[in-house]
């Protein structure tokens, strides 16, 4: 089965992906809501900022994170002093880098599903005595659940596969920041690592494929349920 190096990299990747999705989900929802439902000055700017990681070289994102969240960075120093949290050369840093890189995918999926929620249903709920919070919990979120799920799974798959920003920000430390792609990269740098590299490639492909299929199946099921058909 898996070698210790492989299982270590796989488990770390899963952990990084999960943590990055769980923590970016609420922010992703909030931003998706702002972009889909609100008009405000600077909306185009926010939209651009959210999508930036999609078009920037990952190394730019990694370097920016290093400058901001390194021990001596503005945000990094503050977080360390107040909460004792370190991102630099730590798996949490890998999760942060993955979250930033996956954020556009997550927000896009959520925004799209929110735009498809029929606002007339929300108005109807208001006339039935539901306050905005109840409308959000009982109408809006359930109706956009396929988009939330798709967004989360896509972001997870993207996080697991993140390479450039991660290696720039938190380096390639086995057992700490060496996720699947980083381990694969390390293997390609040593002679005779081809066979092991192939195995990691297969694992990566399987994982990504599984995530995409799961996303599709879950979204379809939820979609059927909220449409009330079938």
């Amino acid at each position: 089965m898996l070698t210790p190096l492989e299982s270590e990299a796989l488990l770390l990747s899963l952990r990084v992906g999960l943590v990055s999705v769980v923590f970016s989900l609420p922010l992703g929802l909030a931003i998706a809501w702002l972009l889909a439902r609100r008009e405000f000055p600077g909306k185009i700017l926010l939209n651009g900022l959210v999508h930036l990681p999609l078009v920037l070289p990952p190394v730019v994102v990694g370097f920016t994170l290093l400058v901001l969240f390194g021990r001596n960075g503005a945000a990094g120093a503050w977080l360390y002093q107040v909460f004792g949290i370190t991102f630099a050369f730590d798996w949490k840093g890998a999760a942060l880098a993955s979250a930033v890189m996956a954020f556009p995918l997550m927000v896009r999926a959520m925004r799209l599903s929110l735009e498809n929620v029929d606002r007339r249903l929300e108005a109807a709920a208001r006339t039935l005595g539901a306050n905005p919070l109840k409308v959000l919990a009982t109408i809006t979120l359930p109706l956009m659940s396929p988009g939330i799920l798709t967004g989360a799974i896509l972001a997870f798959a993207r996080s697991v596969g993140e390479f450039g920003a991660t290696i720039t920000f938190v380096s390639n430390i086995p057992g700490e920041t060496q996720t699947l792609p980083l381990a694969l990269y390390a293997l390609t740098q040593v002679p005779g690592g081809d066979h092991a590299a192939w195995r990691l490639t297969a694992i990566s492909v399987l994982l990504a494929m599984a995530a995409l299929i799961a996303s599709e199946l879950v979204a379809r099921r939820l979609d059927r349920r909220i449409r009330g058909a079938g």
Binding site: R120, L121, A123, A124, A125, R126, T127, L128, G129, A130, N131, T138, I139, P142, L143, R225, I226, R227, G228, A229
Partner: protein, 370 residues
């Protein structure tokens, strides 16, 4: 009372509606599409915020721009039946019905379900319902949120004729059995005649006139709003007799009796009839040898000042104490040759066939002893 005096600019459209409607019975907002009917009830419901003005229902202020009052929709306690049912697709029928209920509705879940005849639908999904069933569930859902007033925005417009006939009786039952006041938006005069007690004519963002249905529909000056081709008078009649030999029913009004094809209703039922002006023929003497059986002696009250080939006349066929107005549409040439003037005696002939089964408005609750 339902009081509303609001202004709202919506692009090119300017809404400036002032309305004081009784908080009982059915008040119809009637007007062509785009006249502002839906905007008015959206403002009532709190879904559209007026630029300025005041809205009050039963003495409670819901909106007052001067005093800075603007209750959110959920605190207005007004039920809203939309043109498209707007049921929640991710809830079952039961889930939809219970959505707004807090268990303190004056009418119980079981009573609502029985009233609307939706016992068999409770565990179904919304997508599996027919159009008429969806609209009945939507009515039930609004009722269970304990509204003090129901707003209905053309609830029948999206349904075919058979489905309309399925829903109409339920709406009358809401008024008669639950005593729930209803504001009913429509652009179909037949529905208005069948349902409404009070008629408010909406035109270009204003309330052009408000009053009892019979009164407004017989006013010649309001014809452009009540509909010219559809023009006709509304008569309040009582079912007084059944002629089993010929399969006819006799409907009495002050001054005469109309014979219509058999109506399977108890004697004493009050019915509101609509008689189109184009279905009334005039003669200046009693006529014989015609197939028309409904003839009434009366006199001309008013002649429309139209210039075209056709002219409308208002004919009083009632008694001196209780006038009953019929409209007749004849040609200018006939008017000239019959020498009709206000006050002229005249005989109005109503084609029996004009009174088909769907035109009588049923008002079973007002059944009188015969």
């Amino acid at each position: 009372m339902i009081e509303l005096d609001i202004e709202k600019r919506l692009g090119e459209f300017h809404l400036a509606a002032r309305l004081a409607a009784p908080a009982s019975g059915i008040t119809a907002l009637f007007g062509r599409s785009g006249a502002g009917k839906t905007s008015i009830i959206n403002a009532l419901a709190g879904l559209l915020k007026p630029d300025r003005g005041r809205i009050a229902v039963g003495g409670e202020t819901l909106f007052d721009s001067e005093r800075g009052i603007d209750l959110p929709p959920e605190r207005r306690h007004l039920g809203y039946i939309f043109q498209e049912h707007r049921l929640f697709p991710h809830y079952s029928v039961r889930g939809n019905l219970l959505y707004g209920g807090k268990g303190n509705a004056p009418i119980s879940f079981d009573a609502v379900v029985a009233l609307l005849g939706i016992e068999g639908l409770l565990d179904r999904r919304v997508a599996d319902l027919s159009g008429g069933e969806k609209q009945r569930v939507a009515i039930g859902r609004a009722l269970l949120a304990s509204p003090r007033l129901l707003l209905m925005d053309e609830p029948l417009a999206a349904l075919d004729a058979a489905r309309k006939d399925e829903i109409l009786p339920f709406i009358t039952r809401l008024r008669d059995e639950l005593r729930l006041p209803i504001i009913y938006v429509s652009h179909a005069m037949e529905e208005v005649v069948q349902l409404a007690d009070t008629l408010a004519l909406v035109d270009d963002g204003r309330i052009a006139a408000i009053g009892p249905v019979e009164e407004l529909t017989s006013r010649i000056d309001l014809r452009p709003l009540t509909g010219r081709f559809e023009a006709g008078s509304v008569l309040r009649t009582v079912l007084r007799g059944q002629d089993t030999t010929y399969g006819l029913s006799e409907l009495a009004f002050p001054g005469g009796r109309l014979r219509v094809p058999h109506l399977d209703l108890p004697l004493g039922t009050v019915l509101r009839l609509r008689i189109h002006a184009r279905d009334v023929v005039l003669a200046n003497a009693p006529v014989s040898g015609l197939s028309i059986r409904n003839a009434f002696a009366g006199k001309v009250v008013e002649i429309s000042p139209d210039r075209g080939p056709l002219v409308d006349l208002r004919i009083d066929v009632g008694t001196p104490s209780e006038p009953v107005m019929l409209w007749a549409r004849i040609t200018q040439r006939a008017l000239h040759e019959l020498k009709l003037k206000p006050g002229s005696p005249v005989h109005a002939l109503v084609k029996t066939v004009a009174l088909n089964r769907s035109s009588p408005g049923r008002r079973e609750a007002e059944t009188e002893a015969s």
